[in-house]
Amino acid sequence: MAIRLATQRRPPERAQEGAPVALRLLGVTIAVFALIPLISLVQHAATVDPDVALGQLFRPRMAMLLGHTFGLMVTCVAASIVLSLACAWLVVRTDLPLRGLWHVLLTAPLAVPAFVNGFGWVSLTHAVEGYAGASMVVTLSYFPLVYLPVTAALRGLDPVHEELAGTLGLSRTQTFLRVVLPQLRPAVLGGSLLVALHMLSEFGALKMLRFPTFTTAIYDQFNTSFNGAAAHMTASVLVLVCFVVLLVELRLRGRRRYAPTSSGTPRVAARLELGRARLVALLLPGAVTALALGVPIYSLLRWVSIGTSTGRGSEDLLPTALATIVFALVGALLAVALALPVSVLVVRHASRTSTLIERSTYTANALPGIVIALALITFTIRYVPGLYQTAPVLVAAYLIMFLSRAVVSVRSSLEQAPPVLENVARSLGLSRMAATWRVTVPIVLPGIGAGAALVFIAICTELTATLLLAPIETQTLATRFWSLSGGLQYGAAAPFALLMIGLAMPAVYLLSRTPGRKS
């Protein structure tokens, strides 16, 4: 779930040979493909009668949705930052018992889709419905997106700056506020952006918790009243909100570079001995884990046992799981296949065009799944009606949504394999093909695998676009869970959710092991 937006500028590279025409054409095609939702949305917005649009925009309901969405976003981002900073500090900088375990447990909520978390809570108590409950559940689902980069950044900090602050008369608290926090800023901002964007696209959890925001409004407008125009209008506003969030983050991040100013081998910071407070400190990660993991998993297990005791099994569990895995595999392989030419263009043939192609694959990050689904529906109905509600369109939606995850992984691994290595191999007597095969491929392979795994998991747990785009007879784990829980068949629904968590867990564990790159 770690989407990274490429905002850093690459250092100027030496003149490179231009990319082969075929590769460039392929890149442009992929870029256009990735831009379909945005193009379709703009196209639609341009054809709307301004008077109608204004009438729809300035309704009390729109103001209510804006208020809800913004309120939830600000609360979730703020809560995620506070929670992540406290947990990361305890895990990285103190002698908290079982730090390694806590780190994995604090990452693990990423394996529980937010709508499953919402279900877990709401099926136990209706007290979580509404603003406060929604804020809590969404925060518990997405705070690891801040926690992970902050932990990595905190690990990478050279403690020399904190020691210096001590000699300059600062107390521990002052040192944290004036020395540590500013250096964590890029990590906090990056993570907060992800939380904000995920929150803006969140649909399932908010629907479960009966808290109307843009996404649930779009879904209702489209699905119950078949009001395509209204849905599109609301979607356009949502996209605007997303872009505002992106701009705000870019602005806050600024142009400042944090160049290393101390020697290359930072010491490991001494851990603060908590003493008697150790046991009290355990309460924080303990409570977070209990709320984010314990409650949903307990709730699911409880429903499974109730479900089996009442004899209503889930016969379609296996076929549904199989269908989901097939979709996820196809999507993952295609995503990697599309990510390769894009990455080769960016890494080996850097140019303005290459950068534009790469960036175009990131735009979907700012587009909620429901918006992408809506745009693809409009697009297929208009241009290829035969494909409407077929598997290829669903896979296309997956690709557009998750291509950036594959690109990030593949690109960074390709950067580990500079062309000079291939040149060396060729100087040692290998052919061009053999050099690529024996040098570049082995270096890049882990990155490709990681990218594929990330896309696989994302597809396994995708709900919104699948609900809107899946062929009538096709069910995935997420949609089947959704329809069963919507029909109050909680016992039958729970095994589907547990299976999704099981599928996502291994990759999330791997995510917690990766030492984060320094921002």
């Binding site: 210096l164 001590g166 000699t167 300059l168 008369g169 100013t261 020697s263 001494a270």
Partner: protein, 341 residues
Amino acid sequence: MTVLRTSSLTRSFGSVRALDGVDLEIADGAVLAVLGPSGCGKTTLLRVIAGFLSGDAGEVSLGDRVVLSDGRARVSTKHRNIGYVPQEGALFPHLDVAANITFGLSRRERRAGDVADLLALLELDPSLASRYPHELSGGQQQRVAVARALARKPSLLLLDEPFSSLDASLRESTGRAVMRAVQARGAAALLVTHDQNEALSLADSVGVMQAGKVVQVGPPIEVYAHPATPFVASFVGAGTVLSATVADRVAHTPIGDFDVAEDVGSGPAQVFARPEQVRIVEDSKVVATVRGFDFHGHDATVHLGVDGHPEVLCRVGGDELPTIGDEVRILTHGRVTVYPA
């Protein structure tokens, strides 16, 4: 009045004794260089004095305050009134030069001219105040780091190999500028380094450390001319260990005779001769073969083979180089320190 006193300071890491009973003193306004090979414990010493580490046993006093006793820190770093300059400066990357310099000053303590004064003190251009660390050269970063440490008028400045990352050409000028600034502020300084040139040229006194112990402390000239052990002798400069027989305050060696500094009786011994104590002359009884030389431009160190001593070092002017393989005659002079054989 002493600024710093450590007595019997001990600290181990596992089975390694990083500090093994260290006794040191720095007088008001003085500069002490602690010199030693890497791993000798000099950085541990500095970190214990700064309060980043506690000790196992011993005492540290800053001025009239005992800041560490029985190995336990009694005063936190914050209240020790010290300045600290680590390797490569470690400026705060998120702050500009002015904010770095005034970092440790509370709002009340800041004065308008502070930054400009300190920049001038370190011989830096005032326009640097608004620059960020990554826009400065290595030497400038280091000077700003010193300015930041001096801003709070510490009584003692701790310098942890602060010039080792600089080019040789910058190292000297930066070092001198820093020492002038320290002196102007009336601070004392503890300079930890493994570079004997730096230690000998910048400090008022030099302490040589080996395996957690201070082997010798004294003025640079003293340590260079009368090293306490052969280790100190070879660490503070080049030279030759010679076997000798001492009688009547004269050490007789295979390459000639030396005066002996103090009366040590007579018998077999070892002495250490600096290259400049051996001269190539026209007329002498001792014959040596030129094996090779290290040319430094202004002068050169010649490696000579003498009967019984395959490698004797001798300094000659850069324009007086002998040819390799030549036979030359050598004469010794000056005083040496005598070590047990």
